[in-house]
Symmetry: C2
Subunit: 378 residues, 2 copies
Amino acid sequence: MKFEIMRHRLLDGLNDVMKAVSLKTTVPILTGIKLEITEEGLILTGSDLDITIQTFIKAEEDGDQIIRVIEEGSIVVQARMFNEIVRKLPTSEVVIEVNDNYHTHIRSGKSKFHLIGQEASDYPLLPEIQEDHQFTIPANLVKSIVRETVFAVSTSESRPVLTGVLWQVKEGELVCVATDSHRLARRKVNLEQPPEGEYSVVIPGKSLNELSKIIGDSSLPVNIAITNQQILFKAENVLLYSRLLEGNYPDTSRLIPTEYKTTVTMSGKALFQAIDRASLLAREERNNIVRLSSLNDNIIEVSSSSPEIGEVEEEIQSSSNEGEEIKISFSAKYMLDALKALDGHDVIVQFTGGMRPFILNTVHNDAVLQLIVPVRTY
Amino acid sequence: MKFEIMRHRLLDGLNDVMKAVSLKTTVPILTGIKLEITEEGLILTGSDLDITIQTFIKAEEDGDQIIRVIEEGSIVVQARMFNEIVRKLPTSEVVIEVNDNYHTHIRSGKSKFHLIGQEASDYPLLPEIQEDHQFTIPANLVKSIVRETVFAVSTSESRPVLTGVLWQVKEGELVCVATDSHRLARRKVNLEQPPEGEYSVVIPGKSLNELSKIIGDSSLPVNIAITNQQILFKAENVLLYSRLLEGNYPDTSRLIPTEYKTTVTMSGKALFQAIDRASLLAREERNNIVRLSSLNDNIIEVSSSSPEIGEVEEEIQSSSNEGEEIKISFSAKYMLDALKALDGHDVIVQFTGGMRPFILNTVHNDAVLQLIVPVRTY
C-alpha cells in the first residue's frame, strides 16, 4: 500500500471520522481508524460501535489530482496519533506507505514517522442497511432539526429511550420529538418524497450532534435509510451509521395543552437577554428558577432573587398580551435553551395558568414547538 | 453613593482587578471588589492578599465624560456576580447607587439589580510602599521579560523560592533569572535610570503573569518600587502590588558553562517544529525525551521513539555546525518552552558534550539565555 495525498484534504477527512472514535473503547482496534486506498480514492472509517463515520476522498476532483495512488491496500492506524501527526507535518503533501508487518511510514518534507499499524480485516464491518426504505432532506434542514430538538433529550440514563430523539414518519410528514419529561421540543417537516409505510425510530442525541457537525451547511440532499436497529445518513462523501435506541418512546401528545388562557407576543431576543440576566442570581440558588408575570400596559416582568446575594427585576415590552393575567415560575436554563432553538425570532408564548405546561412558537412558523413544565412557587 | 458610568469602561476596569480576586479565599470580604467613587473618578480594588490590583477610571478623559458623579462614597460588592451583571447589562450606561444597609442598586435600561454589599472600611488596606527606591521600564519590555523567564519557574512547592523569578538590580543592570533546577531562563536589561544601591527580590511567577496581562503592549513607562516584602508596579491607571517570596535564591551562575565544544546555528522555527512533531511520540512515554544528534553536511537530526507506537526522525539543515559531534537527549517540553521564549528567531545552541547543560541564544541578541539540563540516555 502506498499513496501520496494533499495534506489538508486528508486532515478534513480525519476531522470527520475522528468524531466517531472513542479513546475509552473496550475494543482495542476501535482506537484506530481504517485507511483503504483504491484507484478511486481513500476511504477513512472511524467507529465506537454506536456511531460509525466513513468518509471518501476522491483521487481526482474537478480535474485536480488529490491523491496519487501507487499501490492499493488497507491498514488500521492509531487514530489520535495519526491525526496529530498529519496535523503537524511540515509540507502540503504526505506519502503514506505500508511495508511488511503493518509498518506504516508517513513522510512529509524532512519528517519521517514510522507507526505500528494493525490488520485492516480485523476492523469491524459496517452495519448492513437495506436501502429500500429511504427519504431525503436537505443538509441545512437536517442541521435545523437537530438544533431545534436535540438539546431537550434527557441526560439521565434512568430512562435510556429519552436520551434520544423520536423520528416519526407518517402521512408524508416527519415529526421529531425530544423530551426529558420537564420540557419538550418538537419539529415537523413536510417530506417532498416520503417513503412508503410508517417509521418510528429513536436516534441517540449524541449521534445527531455528531451528524450535525459533519454535514455541510448547504441544501445538498442527505439520504436517510432506516432499518430496525440502525439508521444511515448519507451526505456528499460522508456516511454516518448510528445505532437506534430500543424501548417504547412515551406518547407525548397529551402533554401539549389544547387550549390556552394567556397569549403573549414579544421579541425572543429581549426575552432571552432578560432571562439570561435574571439567571445570574437564580443559578446561585440550587434550582435556577425565574419568575415571569404580566403587568399593566403589555409589560412582562421577569424576576429572581437569592436571599444572600440580592434580587433582579427585568421589564420587557410585549407587542401583545391577551387573556388572563399570568404569574409563573420555571427553569431559566430550559427557557434559554428553548429561545435559542427559536433563533432570536419574535415568539408567541401561550399559557394555561401558572401550574400547566406552556408553549413557545415563533411568530412566522409553527413547525417548531417548545414546551416547558413550570415549577410551583406561587 | 451614586454615579453613572460608561459600561464598557467599567468592564475594562473590572477585567483588570478580577485577576487578583480569588474565589477560594479564607477572608470572605476578598471575594468582593471595592468601589470608591470621588469627583476625580472610580477606583476599583481586588486582592487575594498575595496580589492586589487597583485600577482608576477617570471621570473625564480627553474632554469626554466617562463617569457622572452624583454622590461620592464607597462599597464592597461580590466580585464575580458584579462582574457578570455588568457584562450582561442591556445598555451602554450603568447607574450604581448605594442606599442604607449597603444595598447596592445597579440599573441599566429596563434592568434593575439589587445586591447586598459590604462596608468598604472592612476591606484590607493596601500595603505601604516607600517610593524612594524606584526604577522605570517600558511596558512592552516588562512583558518581554516576563515572557522570556516566567515559564521556567518551579511548579513544585518543595522549594518555594524557586516558584518565583529573581530580579536583581546591580551596576545599572537588571538581571532576571528563573529556574526549576532542570532548566534556567535569564534575561538582562540595561536600566536607563537605575536606582541607587543594589536590590535582589524574588517575585512570585503568578504575580508576573497577572502583571503581564494587565499592562498594555505600549512603550509607556511602568514604575517599579521595591521594599522588603512587597513590590509595586505602577502603569497607566493600574497598580499591581505583589508579595515577595522569602528565602535565599540559589546562586545559578555556576550552572552556566563557561566554555563550549559544539556550536550550532539554525532556524529556531524549524527546530521548534521538528521537536514539536518528535514530541508527539515522546510524550506517549512517561518522560517526553527527544534525542538530537549532528550528522554530516550540517544536518541536525531530532528523533524519538515509543516501543508500542513507533518512531520519528526529523532532519534540520543548520546554517553552521562547529566543533565536536554531538549526541544529546533532553525534555521536549523544556526545549519547546525555551524556543518559544526566543520567539522563532534564528538560534545559536552551544553544547559541552552530551552530559552537560547546553544553552540557547538568539543570533541577534544575547540578552536572553535559555539553559537546559540534558537527560542521560546515550
